[in-house]
């Protein structure tokens, strides 16, 4: 099978799995998850094959795998759809495939496959646990299987389809399609436990917020199409097109067309990747099951946002020569950097283990966006991938932790204890060793622990880029953000795993099944090693031991190959300092904190995320309600329109009366109606005897008529 065909096929298995599960195997849990995981595996296989074929191709950047077909006739031109795997998308495909497969596998365990059905579980609520009686007649409360198990796999299947479509698509249109499919799926999955009001709200919130972004993105796409007449990347990113786009003024804020388009598209990304100011949905998205969090926040959706910007990078950097940033780029850079620092500060004060990760995700995405904003293409991609790995790892790890805690909760039966609150944990390293070590690796990677972890290399590269091109503001902000990252990561690890159990539940937590731990291990492997493919040449000691393969490979995507940065100590020291310092202080500050009260950083402003939700509620939602309920409904509808309509009533009545008396009754009824009826009646009365009800007589009659008419026709007309 040619590589192109293979690429076409990659997204399909999850879709098929979705259809199969929804249509047929909904009843059968085992079959459903086998289908889903199998499909994920198939896609993974295809992705791997494609990836390695890509890696082994010479000058892959110049001629990537590309195939496209005509799809929609638009006048005399065609709207093409197709698949394109260039180095970047190949790299992205790699991690997407891995994370998705891992998450699918993990979900099996997370939803307690093989456990008994819950006593009072019902659809739309998380399982409450089941009571089983063992051989000795003791009653135990154990985790119970998810009631909507199959449905979950169907959804993530669709989700995976969306992501693969987005990655392999060679044009903005199919990219957008995948994008929207994921939007839908995130809605479905965040609101997966739809009987929980909070989950419902979160789902709607996520959907709406991202939708805002998507509208702008669609505008951008439309603008791009009207400007260039195509949506295929490789046709847009030709020298002259870019040049034209870059120079033509759009007439908005003195932006160039390219600038405007890329900003519009970027707003879509802001929504999808939860950048400031549209970041609010992501923390609430934690209402969904943890694999979903991993799915949305690591592997797919948020990455999709960044991936879109990466795809549009040439457009973003149109007429960008070396130093001073274009308006678009500076906007992007600013948003990214600001989000990074801002989310990091919030993360410091969160106690929900998953929310911390959520905010850290936001801030890490900020890193990538900022990197793109300053034109550090390779660094951004690099961080995107490493982050995907270790963030997926962290989420799955946290899920594992929560799972363990739930086990404890069920054991003690004290349901008031929130199994996600870090202050209810502590000392879990003994209970759940695998989870602990993998989580530790993930955490260190996140906080950029030097040399070993992947996070260090990617983050360091971003910082180095920011420094090397002299974007001081960005550099400093990111450095501070990195420090905070390390800090809250260590805080999280300390609170969760180190020290002594703070609750009985924590004491009774224990390790999760292999389906959940295996992905952790595999992902942690990548969380460490994936950094080593991107070590800069000029790095002291290590530089050049392994060639900077990643830079070569991904850099090949761009038209002009980005030159490797010359090495400088300052960013290196900075990243070392912030990482180690953050980790150290985090440990120092929280090593013997035993209750929320002793946490010094619980500033209300941080705990309440700078009151963003409240602000949005006041600014947008309340007015919207007022508009719909009071203004439109009460004043316009009931008052104005109904008022007018009520005038018509009497008039119509009068007209109707007149018509009835002077036209209907005398003319229509008596003359037309009764008259015709009477005549028809008389006619029928006289014709009645002919209808004897005897089929043969009818036949004879018709034959006679036939002969008469036929004879007449024959003799009069023909002869």
């Amino acid at each position: 099978m040619t590589t192109e065909t293979l690429i076409w096929l990659i997204p399909l298995p999850p879709l098929v799995a979705f259809a199969l599960i929804v249509l047929f195997t909904n009843k059968n849990k085992a079959l459903s998850h086998s289908i889903a995981v199998g499909a994920a595996f198939l896609s993974w296989l295809g992705a791997m094959i494609v990836f390695f074929r890509a890696v082994t191709t010479e000058h892959f950047g110049e001629h990537p795998f590309h195939s496209s077909i005509n799809w929609l006739p638009t006048g005399e031109t065609w709207l093409k759809v197709g698949v394109l795997i260039d180095p970047t998308s190949a790299a992205v495909l790699f991690f997407v495939a891995w994370t998705i497969l891992m998450i699918f596998l993990y979900s099996v365990g997370y939803h307690n496959f093989g456990q008994p059905a819950g006593d009072h579980d019902h659809k739309g609520l998380p399982p409450h646990g089941a009571t089983v009686t063992d051989a000795h007649g003791h009653k135990h409360t154990v985790l119970s299987v998810e009631p909507m198990y199959s449905r979950f796999f169907a959804f993530i299947g669709l989700f995976a389809f969306g992501m693969y479509t987005l990655v392999v698509s060679d044009n903005l249109l199919t990219l957008f399609v995948g994008w929207e499919i994921m939007g839908l799926c995130s809605y479905l999955l965040i609101g997966f436990w739809f009987a929980k009001p909070s989950a419902r709200a979160a789902g709607i919130k996520a959907f709406m917020t991202t939708r805002i972004g998507d509208v702008f993105m669609l505008l951008g796409i439309a603008f791009l199409y009207s400007a260039t007449g195509t949506l295929t990347f490789r046709e847009i990113f030709t020298e002259e097109t870019l040049h034209v786009l870059g120079t033509v003024p759009s007439g908005v804020f003195g932006l160039s067309a390219a600038g405007l388009i890329s900003i519009l598209l970027f707003i879509g990304t802001v929504g999808k990747s939860a950048q400031f100011p549209l970041h609010v949905w992501l923390p609430d998205a934690m209402e969904g099951p943890t694999p979903v969090s991993a799915m949305i926040h690591a592997a797919t959706m948020v990455s999709a946002g960044v991936y879109a910007v990466i795809r549009m990078f040439p457009l973003l950097t149109a007429d960008f020569h070396g130093h001073e940033l274009t308006t678009a780029m500076s906007v992007v850079a600013f948003i990214g950097a600001f989000t990074a620092i801002f989310a990091a500060t919030i993360a410091v004060a969160q106690n929900d283990i998953k929310r911390v990760l959520a905010y850290s995700t936001i801030s890490q995405l900020g890193f990538m966006i900022a990197a793109l904003g300053i034109g550090a293409y390779v660094a951004a991609v690099f961080h995107l991938i490493t982050h995907a790995f270790f963030k997926a790892l962290l989420f799955l790890g946290s899920g594992s932790v929560i799972h363990g805690m739930e086990h404890g909760v069920l054991h003690t039966g004290n349901h008031s204890v929130d199994p996600q609150d870090m202050y209810n944990m502590g000392g879990l390293r003994k209970k759940m060793p695998i989870t602990f070590w993998t989580f530790l690796i993930g955490g260190f990677a996140l906080s950029g622990f030097p040399i070993l972890t992947a996070g260090f290399w990617s983050k360091d590269e971003i910082l180095a880029d920011a420094f090397g091109h002299g974007h001081w503001a960005v550099f400093l902000t990111l450095a501070l953000a990195a420090f905070l990252t390390a800090f809250y990561t260590m805080r999280q690890i300390t609170l969760t795993f180190l020290g002594e159990p703070r609750t009985k539940e924590a004491e009774h937590a224990h390790e999760t099944p292999w389906t959940m731990t295996t992905p952790l291990v595999i992902l942690s492997f990548f969380a460490i090693t994936y950094g080593w493919v991107g070590i800069p040449e000029h790095f002291p000691l290590l530089g050049g031991i392994v060639p900077n393969w990643f830079h070569e490979f991904v850099g090949g995507t761009l038209a002009e190959h980005p030159e490797a940065l010359e090495f400088s100590w300052i960013p290196l020291l900075t990243s070392l300092g912030v990482a180690l310092g953050g980790l150290f202080f985090g440990w120092l500050a929280y090593r013997n904190v035993t209750a929320v009260e002793q946490d010094k950083l619980q500033f209300p402003v941080l705990k309440n995320k700078y009151y963003f939700d409240e602000a949005y509620d006041f600014l947008f939602i309340k007015p919207a309600f007022w508009l719909s309920e009071v203004f439109v409904s009460k004043w316009m509808d009931k008052g104005l329109i109904d008022g007018i309509l009520h005038i018509f009533g009497p008039i119509t009545g009068g007209v109707g009366f007149a018509i009835r008396n002077y036209f209907d009754v005398p003319i229509v009824n008596e003359f037309l109606g009764d008259g015709s009826a009477n005549s028809v009646y008389a006619l029928g009365k006289n014709l009645r005897p002919i209808q004897t009800g005897r089929i043969q007589q009818y036949l004879i009659l018709s034959m006679v008529v036939l002969f008469v008419v036929g004879g007449l026709v024959y003799f009069l007309l023909l002869a």
Binding site: Q696, Q697, I700, M703, V704, F707, G710
Partner: protein, 170 residues
């Protein structure tokens, strides 16, 4: 007068005669049996027309299935199992007869005026396999596969309908 013509005349006479018996015989079972005879005649006519396959199919379908079906139906719809009562024809049978004669006359008269009325058959080219041709014509997309399929669907529908109709609802 070739042998072929003699055979044809005999067969045609027999066919028509038994057809007449079909429509006149008082006892319906006899009528059905006469129908069998008539259909045999038609089958032989097919063979005279070098359509052996059709002849055999004629025997299989009509005599093997349809005639038997008729006999069944006759036996199942007898007032008393003995014989059919009442006249075989209805009271305006003469009209029917008149119409039939008219039809025959009309048809022949019309055919007379047609140029190709009394043309003779061209010899069959050697190596011409009618069955083969027929088969490929029936199932080739260029041929008649669609009508063929439709006919099969029709058969199925008829099957279901017949079962439903004759099903004795308690």
């Amino acid at each position: 007068m070739t042998a072929e013509q003699i055979i044809f005349l005999i067969v045609g006479a027999v066919t028509l005669a038994s057809a007449l018996m079909v429509v006149t015989a008082r006892d319906l079972v006899h009528a059905a049996l006469w129908l069998v005879a008539a259909l045999f005649g038609v089958a032989i006519v097919y063979t005279l027309l070098n359509a052996g396959f059709l002849a055999v199919v004629q025997v299989v379908v009509y005599i093997g299935a349809i005639a038997i079906l008729f006999i069944f139906a006759v036996m199942l719809t007898r007032r008393q199992a003995a014989k059919d009562t009442g006249p075989a024809l209805n009271q305006n049978w003469w009209l029917g007869a008149l119409l039939a004669v008219l039809t025959f006359g009309g048809l022949v008269a019309l055919l007379q005026t047609w140029s190709g009325f009394s043309k003779t058959a061209s010899a069959i080219p050697s190596g011409f396999d009618a069955v083969n041709q027929l088969g490929s014509a029936l199932v080739s997309p260029a041929g008649y596969v669609l009508p063929f399929e439709v006919a099969s669907v029709l058969l199925l529908a008829a099957l279901v309908g017949a079962v439903y109709l004759a099903f004795n609802k308690k």
